[in-house]
């Protein structure tokens, strides 16, 4: 694999705080009080708009009594973008993109779910560049072009 080009997803941190909190019957305020942060912080954390510091993350894990990797997980940025595409773009534009690129409907929407090894095998860099542009991003915003 040395010298071969490979493409990786850029990821962002998402949380399951809300689900776990709801299971424990805690309100945002309850959780905020126990961790020792403001309710706003919890709100933005749940919305995924805030990259918490490690100390806060540890405290959340402690209060919710779950391991860190169960509460926080990384998800490709492109996954959320593809999920939201139907709200952001008219159906016809998506249809046109699929037709011009000659790919299957289901494959397009599952790009966020496939393995990173699969990613560079199944799709050319040119296609991913087009896809990023279609989603209104630059290639570097969604993918990492890494040498192995």
């Amino acid at each position: 694999m040395i010298g071969e080009k490979s493409v990786k997803f850029k990821t962002k941190i998402k949380t399951r705080i809300k689900e776990i909190r709801n299971n424990l019957c805690l309100s945002q305020q309850d959780l905020a009080d126990r961790i020792g942060v403001s309710r706003q912080t919890i709100y933005f954390l749940e919305k995924g708009k805030y990259n918490p510091s490690l100390t806060i993350s540890f405290k959340i894990a402690e209060v919710l009594n779950r391991p860190l990797n169960e509460i926080f997980y990384q998800e490709p940025i492109i996954k959320e973008e593809l999920n939201e595409i139907k709200y952001k773009k008219p159906y016809k534009e998506v249809e046109d993109f699929i037709n011009t690129q000659g790919i299957d409907h289901n494959i397009l929407f599952r790009i966020g779910d496939i393995d990173e090894e699969e990613l560079s095998k199944s799709f050319s860099k040119e296609f991913l560049e087009e896809l990023a542009e279609f989603l209104g991003y630059k290639f570097d915003d969604l993918f990492i072009d890494a040498d192995i």
Partner: protein, 274 residues
């Protein structure tokens, strides 16, 4: 248009015509009196101004315009009332008006700021009311009357029972602007935000003393990586790694998870709350 969208359709009272005609006649009477006094003054002062000439001047400058204007205004306002309808719909109020130029003004409830009910002296004589619906911006186009260039966007004059329409609009606005059930705890009130900011400031001050214990160095040496190599892989300056190893820096979760990924361990193995 969907049948269900209509909630209430109304027209305005014919008393509006009487009121406007009376109002215009009063102004005309004042005008007639003033002109007559001038004519009388000229008649008594100027000997060349005989009685026939006086009658003619009174007729041309007082009676003829009076009758013409009164007639035209009566015709105009009865046409105005005939052409004026309003519909209180589910999401907007629609006002159709105009004698010469037909206008159809649609005001969405979301944009309504307040509703004024006014009743002037002449209005009170005929027991009619005027509803003014004010929105954030003024525009002459959607204004209810053609006479006033710029006024409230919704202008419904000559109403006998303004409270019906007022209550209807208020009811619908209340329905639109209330928080949907289940979302109450997700919306911050201003006083909560101020308190929140204060608390978070105090807490952030308190947290400054917290320290993290870390075993990055041990794990890094176990993986046979130098600090420089690790910094390069993570994509941060070497100083960051140094600070982290000394426990002087509280990393973000993203950074911590990157390091954990590279060193192939859990975040919990790397860091520990002191």
């Amino acid at each position: 248009m969907n049948e269900e969208e209509f909630v209430y359709i109304g027209t305005i009272s014919r008393d509006y015509v009487k009121k406007e005609v009376l109002k215009n006649n009063l102004i005309l009477v004042v005008y007639a009196v003033v002109v007559s006094i001038i004519c009388l003054y000229v008649y008594f002062e100027d000997t060349g101004f005989n009685f026939d000439l006086f009658l003619i001047s009174i007729f041309t400058s007082v009676v003829a315009p009076y009758v013409a204007i009164a007639l035209i205004s009566a015709l105009y306002f009865s046409a105005f009332v005939r052409n004026f309808t309003y519909k209180v719909q589910k999401d907007s109020i629609v006002i159709n008006h105009g004698v010469f130029t037909k206008t159809r003004a649609t005001i969405p409830y979301r944009r309504i700021q307040n509703i004024n009910i006014t009743t002037g002296i002449f209005d009170r004589m005929f027991k009619t009311f005027t509803i003014k619906i004010e929105t954030a911006g003024h525009s002459a186009v959607s204004s209810g009357t053609t006479r006033r260039g710029i006024g409230p966007e919704g202008y419904i004059p000559g109403l006998k029972d303004p409270h019906i329409i007022e209550n209807k609009i208020k009811e619908i606005i209340a329905k639109i602007s209330t928080t949907p059930s289940g979302l109450e705890d997700k919306i911050f009130k201003p006083e909560q935000l101020a308190f929140d900011n204060f608390i978070s400031y105090i807490l952030s001050k308190m947290r400054e003393g917290e320290k993290l214990k870390t075993s990055i160095r041990q794990l890094r040496e176990k993986a046979k990586l130098s600090a420089v190599m690790l910094a390069e892989k993570v994509g941060v300056p070497i100083e960051t790694i140094n600070y982290l190893e000394e426990g002087k820096y509280n990393p973000s979760l993203l950074l911590a998870s990157k390091i954990a990924e590279i060193l192939d361990c859990k975040i919990e193995d790397l860091f520990e709350l002191a």
